[in-house]
Symmetry: C5
Subunit: 359 residues, 5 copies
């Protein structure tokens, strides 16, 4: 949970005090080798080049019209600065790429747009929702993507580019960006589905056992929903902006596809709202089940008291020391009283059994 929280607010604690534009990687430092993959594609073919050092890229000459440069790991500040210089990125863009606690947004600059998306990841065992920032820069003929660590989300997309003849291979970089965003949104469906199933499980449990542990699970579900909401709402704005206000970077055809992803996002947000209402309902059931348990215990106590008090009174009466108590001298007095008590107890037992007061 602590990690979740850190992400929630620790936007630039490391950076506070530095002048704007200083490049410091604020995310958690990863030890994996930073890797830049350059993919060139177009009608005329496909080429993939991997860079492990900055020098490799110096004299590079592209052969195909469209470029996709994917960078995993953000510690290699000089690499990023070089990329920024080559593609003419504004210092603020580089800063936002490194500062991986950004909320999804789209910033329009001269000649390119900068898109921040969040890739959701849900660890079902630890019940821990984490999200990773993906920075996308879309230019006339290039796409840059920046991730903290490889997640394999886009492997399949690269395959499709390589095959050729697919729509993504024969379209421009705008369609590639659409495909990336589509992949990102697809991941959310899985997570929302998981949460939906968890809620269903809880629905069965909550009325049976009203323990605080159930409540804790409800609370953590709520936290996950809040995390999702924080990632999805701005994503909706991003897609709305891209679809409506960016007519020069996206072709008319690609805008139709963006509208489709936008619809998916709306769908997800509505699902979240529904789940949220269901969770609220769970809470009501929980509280009622807790109250019900109190009632049951109260009832049990009442039954015990009601059965034993009269019996004790009777035996107490015949323990009095009056001189003239005729029953005491009867031959079957003692057993008669015992029988009376047994009868009383049985009668009350049956009465409460019928009333369903004995669980």
């Amino acid at each position: 949970m602590s990690r979740n929280k850190h992400r929630l607010v620790g936007h630039n604690s490391k950076k506070a005090g530095l002048p704007p534009g200083s490049l410091v990687h604020v995310g958690e430092i990863k030890t994996s080798e930073p890797l830049a993959t350059l993919i060139e594609y177009g009608h005329d073919g496909y080429r993939e080049t991997c860079f492990t050092s900055l020098e490799q890229g110096r004299g590079f000459q592209p052969q195909h019209p469209n470029l996709w440069l994917n960078i995993h790991g953000l510690h290699n500040i000089p690499l990023l600065e070089e990329v920024g210089r080559r593609f003419g990125l504004h210092p603020l863009v580089l800063e936002d790429i490194l500062n991986t606690g950004q909320r999804p947004k789209v910033d329009v600059y001269d000649g390119y747009s900068y898109i921040v998306a969040r890739l959701i990841h849900f660890d079902n065992d630890r019940r821990c929702l984490s999200s990773e920032q993906i920075s996308i820069v879309l230019g006339r003929n290039f796409v840059l993507t920046f991730q903290e660590k490889p997640t394999g989300t886009f492997t399949e997309l690269r395959e499709r580019l390589k095959v050729g003849g697919t729509q993504v291979a024969s379209s421009g970089p705008d369609y590639l960006v659409y495909s990336l965003l589509d992949k990102v949104i697809d991941r959310y469906f899985k997570v929302v589905e998981d949460i939906g199933e968890e809620i269903e499980l809880l629905e069965d449990e909550v009325s049976v056992k009203a323990q605080t542990s159930v409540l804790t699970r409800i609370h953590s579900l709520r936290q996950e929903m809040l995390g999702l909401k924080r990632a999805l709402w701005p994503m909706r704005e991003v897609l709305n902006t891209l679809q409506r206000d960016e007519p020069d970077l996206f072709s008319k055809e690609t805008q139709l596809y963006l509208r489709d992803v936008y619809d998916h996002t709306i769908h997800l947000i509505e699902s979240l709202e529904t789940l949220r209402d269901l969770i609220a309902g769970l809470l009501d059931i929980f509280m009622s089940a807790q109250g019900h348990r109190l009632n049951l215990e109260m009832r049990f106590l009442t039954v015990i008291t009601t059965i034993f008090m009269p019996l004790t009174l009777i035996s107490s009466i015949y323990g009095m020391n009056f001189e003239f108590m005729p029953e005491l001298h009867w031959r079957w007095g003692y057993f008669g009283v015992l029988a009376l008590m047994a009868f009383l107890a049985a009668a009350m037992g049956i009465f409460f059994w019928r009333k369903k007061w004995l669980r």
Copy 2:
């Protein structure tokens, strides 16, 4: 409930990983024979043709100005592709037709509009709300409708077309689309009415028996409301868009009728809001009734304790072994004490009866 949930979020779990535009039917596979019904109508007459195979339709020539092609069952992908090719549908439209978890929407393409609506179905016995996607494509002189299974909702409309002379028969395809949407919305009224009646029943029950089962019913009512809301809210947008922003596909006259359906949708949404508030009220009554029951049981316990404790004390006093206890030697001591106890018990009984503490 699981089915309900699946529909809630399982929008394209099957599709995740496929490139956009791949045609896969995501709904539940139906075994019924796919069936395409082609209705031609106009001032000059009516003709209905049923297709059971793709080949049948190859050389088909229409005779009447307006076409309505209705397709039940969505597994016959080649059929759909053929239809898409004939009527020039965008791949995204075909994808959305097959992907039957769409939320209601209207997408405008060149020359035609694509409308998604949801046909509601409420199974009163299993208390299960399900909804089915209906895809409508409205072109200049044709209407295409796609459904997962036949529901008979539009049978009566077909009859009216066949009869001729009715407004729908003598109007264009835009009026036909209005009639379809009108039918779809009509179904909601029935469901909302059913829910309203269920709430009324619960209102009578809830204060009498405050059992968790009642709460479960309230919770499932709330789930149904959420399902309805999810279907109705976007439907409102759809109708608003059609009525205001589509002046070229809908005639001025038909727009008046669309405004009417739009009003019905608003009416339904307001009814939902009201029902929602009533359910919230039910919950309050339930919680209070549960608390009331706790109070009653507490009170009963108090009465028992209050009546028996003094009696036991008295009998316990006369069970003491003091040498000098004059009452013990009185002739009528024992019976006097019994009488005293009976009197005390009766007095307290009457007292609590008057106080209405004995139910």
Copy 3:
């Protein structure tokens, strides 16, 4: 309550399945004689004619510039059709007039506007809020009003028309429509005031007796509020539309008056919001009072137990059968113990009395 509910959602259950435009009266059938009253008025005089049959109106020739045709009872479908033909009403208007569960709205047609308002009626004894649809058609020189039954709300207005010289008599039909709407809104003030008084009564009661009956009254108050809200919110839209968007049917002078009614509606809506918040407060007090009562009963039980348990212990101790218990042989042992018990009981009684634990 059932009637209320029916109205809530039963918008066109009777009509489902009929083609749009079919004229069926959906409200509850009234047995009173349908009655059409035609009032002509203007600077040059006033004439009132009552029609009991359709034939009477065939050859009718108006004498004064402004017409007001008022129709009570909606079963006489031929009459309505005749009126529709004479004044050129669209079939949808006639349908909406008969379908008396409409929400307030204003529909603009060529040459006339169709206004739906709801006349509120609050039966204080049965605590039942009902509302009746009033349809108003405003044309260049005529006003048509349609009601299910005579309510006498407009009698006084007719008097003022008859007298002549009043503003309504010397103004056009737009001012007449304003006067009608003003009357309709005036009725709401009365109802809101009644609800306000009921809330005040409940405020005094709720902390005294925390019975479920009070909660039921709160719940029914809430239902009434919901009914009012459902009628008032769209009324606000209607008045806003009339005041702003209808410059050709309403004179500039009349628009000032409409602004005034609009202000009243806003005032009413804000009062409703306030009442709603007060009711929410009542609920909190109720829940707290219920919890308070539980506390009181708990406390009473505690007092009983605390007083009697030590006494019983003492008497039980002197009931032990040890051989050497010196107190048992004391001359005043018994009375001493009795005195001790009395003292203990009194001391605890005073203690709890001071602590205000004995109510």
Copy 4:
């Protein structure tokens, strides 16, 4: 409270049934002498004239450019009609002046604007919030103000006018209206501050004593907040309208000042929202404190039962009449048992004391 309620909804109960435009004073009838004060001011001087009868004003000739006519008490209908005639006020304006339950608003008429504001008054002892309507009419060179009774709020303003050389004296009537509104808003700050202090007091009390009386105070606080909100929200609209949409009646310079008052109103509204949230928090604490008290009493009962039940059992055991009970014949048996009991009681007492179960 009743007065508060009356004001809440009793907008025109007296008026219902009268034709629009009838002048009836709807507020509570005051017995104080109606008084019209006419202030003329400008660069060239200041003159104040008091009118006690209508005749005095007939032949009046103004000497200075700006007029401010202030009228206290609204029973003198002929006076108001005369004023209306002189300054060309619309009948609706006069009606609204008399009908003192108006919500704040601004109505623009040809040549003048009519502003309704509400002067708040908080009686700290009776904890009763009342508000009085102030009607302001701003024309080219005159300001008219109408109040039900003299409140002294504007005395200081009049002094400043009299002195001359102050900004208000050397500016036009628009600045005077600004000054009036500024005074009106200033009064709200005081009231909001009072409520804030009351909440602080309650915060200290609420966790100590969870009595229903505290809840009643919370409820009445909420009522006061609702009253303030009802007065402030429309006031914000009024100031926004004046500042933005009225460029011809207010000079550019005065509009800067109006923006300032507007900011104050926003400030007040946000304070109200904050107070509202604090009150909601108080309620939670109250409910929790009530539950805590229940827990405490439960615990006390448990302690009593736990201590006495074993003691009673022991004494009851030695009250059994078995022949062979060796302890009974021991010399120190009795005192040993007493000691055992004392030890048990002490041990349990210490145990519960350590557990902090004995308060």
Copy 5:
């Protein structure tokens, strides 16, 4: 807390009654020496001058293009008046500078803009959130800042100016204003992070100990959130206005940076919303934990009663004085009964232990 409250509403209690434009310092009087620091900077160098008296500044001649005048302490009214005269500030600006309870806003005047921001300060020990007003005036070539007391927030910024060559030193005053606002917003991140950690701590505590002290902490957290929200929401408006509507005072480049700060503010506001929801969840857990504790105590009481009542009954039975009670004469009767009791107690003890009713 009292200080917090004062700030909440005590906007101009001191000022009430004074004419608008009167300069009175409304904040808490500070005893520290008022200090004006004048910084001149530009491409050509940097100069810093400190003024301790008004006279010092009379004959001052600036040497560099950009001026930044920072004033700590606001009691020196003549100084402020002098500054106002020199830079042509409107009286309302001076008034707002002194009146330190303003909400963040931006007011546009001819030739300069007046910005109010609030510097947040969170005292972690006393758990007390305070905020200080910072007034910023941005002109063509000057920036004026006004603070109540030195906080050191801008020291580092001054260093950067002094160094030269940094972006802030080589840009105009608009960039300086951006840097100031960036610093102000940075402070909020720290506070939001602190609150997030406090919530995490409470999450662990709340289910363990359900004491009212925890609730008080939740309540004070809520108060802090409200304070933050009150400061942040208007800040968002301010940044939105600056970024969008002020094209002449801010260069295109600086507007990109302002957009960045704006994004941070949105981020903060969303974090606040999330924290708010988490706090609501805490409250639910608290209430449930309290209910759980009640259940546990109830259960304990029930166990005690259930174990001791049968034992007491048994011993009471053998205390009866019947003549013919065979068991009484058995050799091992007494020990048998004791054994029976021990067995019963043990059996019930084990039963309840297995049921986990004994904690």
